[in-house]
């Protein structure tokens, strides 16, 4: 049901925005009120490659008002098959510039806070402070764990999405209500490598689903993967949803349940 004037603090939509988002606002339980919530929202995406690039692209298209993007390094030829916000003419130049350029081409109305570094223990707090929801797309567990700690300490939801080869995984963490990332993986696998087999269509699929989770959380639409994980084997085209348990001895979030 559409309740456009329920919260007068939300920004209004102009006529162009009503046209752009018209079909999206036909979705039951989203409507113009949900669209105004998206316009008023901010999402942190780190990093913005094969998964995160599609998260950012979909959230920009959907009209999320502010995106905080963290991604270091320069565009490489080997990025291009999956990192859809990187362009061939930008090889050797900063990825964050290509990301910003592509997103603003799609939606010049959104605000982008572009950070030319990846998430670290040092900057995670400041990155998370700037967003309502985190979407964790980092390729290294050290980055993911840094974001998870800040998600818990700042009590902000984190959409956790990851893939490998033809498989993907997706869940949403709500501090104090669900397990956190280190309940799921108390320790990072020592054999995980920065470079991994990936088909762009698979990382993009996971990214689009993660964007869906973020939109659902921001607009109270549907049921996010709360205490659940979606596991996809896209080689077999099998999708399983499993229930997750928190760990009572979790080093990050157990104090929230004491």
């Amino acid at each position: 049901m559409d309740i456009p004037h329920q919260n007068p603090d939300l920004p209004e939509l102009d006529s162009l925005e009503r046209s752009i988002y018209e079909w999206q606002m036909w979705i039951e339980d989203l409507g113009e009120f949900g669209q105004r919530k998206l316009k008023n929202s901010s999402v942190l995406i780190t990093r913005c490659g094969g998964v995160g690039g599609l998260v950012a692209y979909q959230l920009a298209a959907a009209g999320v008002g502010r995106l905080v993007i963290a991604h270091a390094g320069d565009v490489k030829a080997s990025d291009l098959h999956r990192q859809l916000l990187m362009t061939r003419d930008w090889i050797g130049k900063p990825r964050i510039e290509s990301i910003q350029k592509r997103l603003l081409e799609l939606n010049p109305d959104i605000a982008i806070q572009a950070v030319a570094s990846n998430a670290t223990e040092e900057n995670a707090r400041e990155l998370v402070e700037q967003a309502d929801v985190i979407v964790d797309c980092a390729p290294l567990f050290s980055e993911r764990f840094a974001l998870n700690r800040q998600s818990v300490s700042q009590s902000k939801p984190m959409v956790e999405c990851a893939m490998y080869e033809m498989e993907g995984q997706l869940t949403s963490f709500f501090p104090g209500q669900t397990p956190c990332l280190q309940c799921l993986y108390p320790v990072a696998p020592p054999t995980w490598k920065r470079q991994f087999p990936v088909l762009g269509a698979i990382s993009g699929t996971v990214g689009c689903l993660a964007a869906t989770e973020a939109i659902k959380i921001l607009t109270n639409l549907g049921k996010p993967l709360r205490n659940k994980m979606l596991r996809m084997d896209l080689r077999e085209m099998t999708f399983r949803t499993v229930r997750l348990k928190r760990r009572k001895d979790c080093v990050v979030c157990s104090h929230l349940f004491a």
Partner: protein, 94 residues
């Protein structure tokens, strides 16, 4: 007679199980099922279990939809015919 169950392995573990995505076997409980699995495919042992024979902290095991945190937990379900044991590893591809 032990229950007929099947393990579903992620791609990261399949090379240690002769490339199989699914492994059917017979077992009555979770501990027994894992023991039979690693007995059949010894290369899985160091990739699945720690030195205490407990599931590694970056591997998750589910019986049907339910997560198993410890192999000998008294709350673990008794396995029934047709149960699926799903192994989900820690992934970080982004």
């Amino acid at each position: 007679m032990p229950s007929e169950i099947r393990f579903v392995l992620p791609s990261t573990l399949r090379p240690h199980a002769k490339g199989l995505a699914e492994v059917p076997l017979q077992a009555d409980n979770v501990r027994e099922a894992v023991s039979v699995l690693v007995e059949r495919f010894p290369n899985l042992q160091p990739n699945l279990l720690d030195s205490d024979n407990e599931i590694l902290p970056f591997i998750n095991l589910f019986v049907n939809q339910e997560q198993i945190l410890r192999l000998d937990d008294a709350e673990n379900p008794r396995l029934r015919h047709g149960d699926e044991l799903l192994i989900i590893p820690a992934l970080s591809g982004g």
